[in-house]
Symmetry: C2
Subunit: 224 residues, 2 copies
């Protein structure tokens, strides 16, 4: 069984993602955190949820962020401003040749005026900035960016959104698309090179804006 490691897996999105991936039945999950005990607690929650749902095919464990790098696929689920220091503290070399997924969308929040905007790093996107922080051999992708944060933990609801996957390695992209397809009813789509991630990252502040301004909630994105 392949394993998925989630760096920053104790946030709402990371924990929901861990549950959804385990429930998909195809990947074991390692939740990572700066503080290993927090990760263990989060993993216990996932294991409990798996039991409830009578899912016995997969497991979930918790550990320090650094240990997550043994996984076959690493998801980075951190606020953008913490990515660089986290990679440094884990050790950049741990990411050599790894398949890595960023779901990070840096945002400028202006709820008073009812809009969010992308907070793009100078290079154009968080993904391109993170690529610079990683070894050249790391295979970085964006995926899962536009699933409404509040939806991950609502396990009784299927997620039927389109998930655009951007990245530059064709073989590893297949690996990431398989992972996406294993989660609920998410529908992975090859969305071209990592450079297209700027648009994907911008979609999340856009749909939050659309939700706030049009009386909607948890707006999803569909390409069809």
């Amino acid at each position: 069984m392949k394993t998925v490691g989630i760096i920053g897996g104790t946030g709402n999105i990371g924990e929901g993602l861990a549950r959804r991936i385990c429930l998909g039945g195809k990947y074991d999950v390692i939740i990572g955190s700066r503080e290993a005990p927090k990760a263990v607690t989060a993993a216990d929650g996932v294991v409990c949820c798996l039991k409830e749902k009578k899912c016995t095919s997969t497991t979930c464990s918790g550990s320090a962020n650094a240990d997550v790098c043994s996984a076959d696929i690493i998801i980075i689920s951190l606020p953008f401003e913490r990515v660089e220091s986290t990679i440094a503290s884990i050790g950049k070399e741990k990411f050599e040749n790894k398949v890595i997924v960023s779901l990070i969308n840096p945002m400028i929040r202006n709820p008073a005026e009812k809009y969010f905007l992308p907070d793009r790093p100078k290079i154009g996107s968080a993904a391109l900035a993170i690529k610079e922080m990683l070894p050249a051999s790391a295979k970085l992708f964006t995926a899962f960016n536009n699933v409404a944060a509040g939806k991950w933990m609502q396990l009784d609801e299927e997620l039927d959104y389109s998930v655009a996957v951007c990245g530059d390695d064709g073989e590893a992209k297949k690996t990431v698309m398989d992972l996406v397809a294993s989660v609920s009813k998410l529908h992975p789509l090859d969305a071209g090179p990592l450079e297209n991630a700027a648009t994907i990252e911008g979609l999340t502040p856009l749909v939050i804006t659309i939700a706030m301004r049009n009386g909607l909630k948890d707006v999803g994105v569909y390409f069809r």
Copy 2:
């Protein structure tokens, strides 16, 4: 009856848009072109189509681009690189206080490697760049950006896409959203300030990329 003027209305998108707006039954349309006779020919085509569809409530005429500015709403349907010279040749002052819609998505095309990318002007988006070309009193919006170009002229097919409308004037935005709602089954959504247009403009190269890479055609965007 309100009128909609389309600058660059003899292209495929402009002409399809003219037909769809007239068929909606709520706006007369003036098609504009650098060469007035071309606009008249295009308008004749629209009138003929209206007759076929037994639509008698609206009309369509053709004229030089400059005359389009008498309309209540002006849609700019030009390649981005022609916008500045067109505004200059019409006369910037003609756009004072006008409600203006850009559906322009500048793109870098790389069909050989199966991807398109946004070709963003330095300021961040075509919309923000065009705003700089217009008088300060002009009310600029983006709308209709992500409707697949090939769909506009396929009149037997309803367009049921979400249309994100970005712009900074709340009152005029209502005017633009009403226009969008009059076209086929398009569903207008207030997507916040003009600054969010960068993402909207990026969506078109993204969905073209998705279409090319996933064996799809005329991919649409839905926010729901």
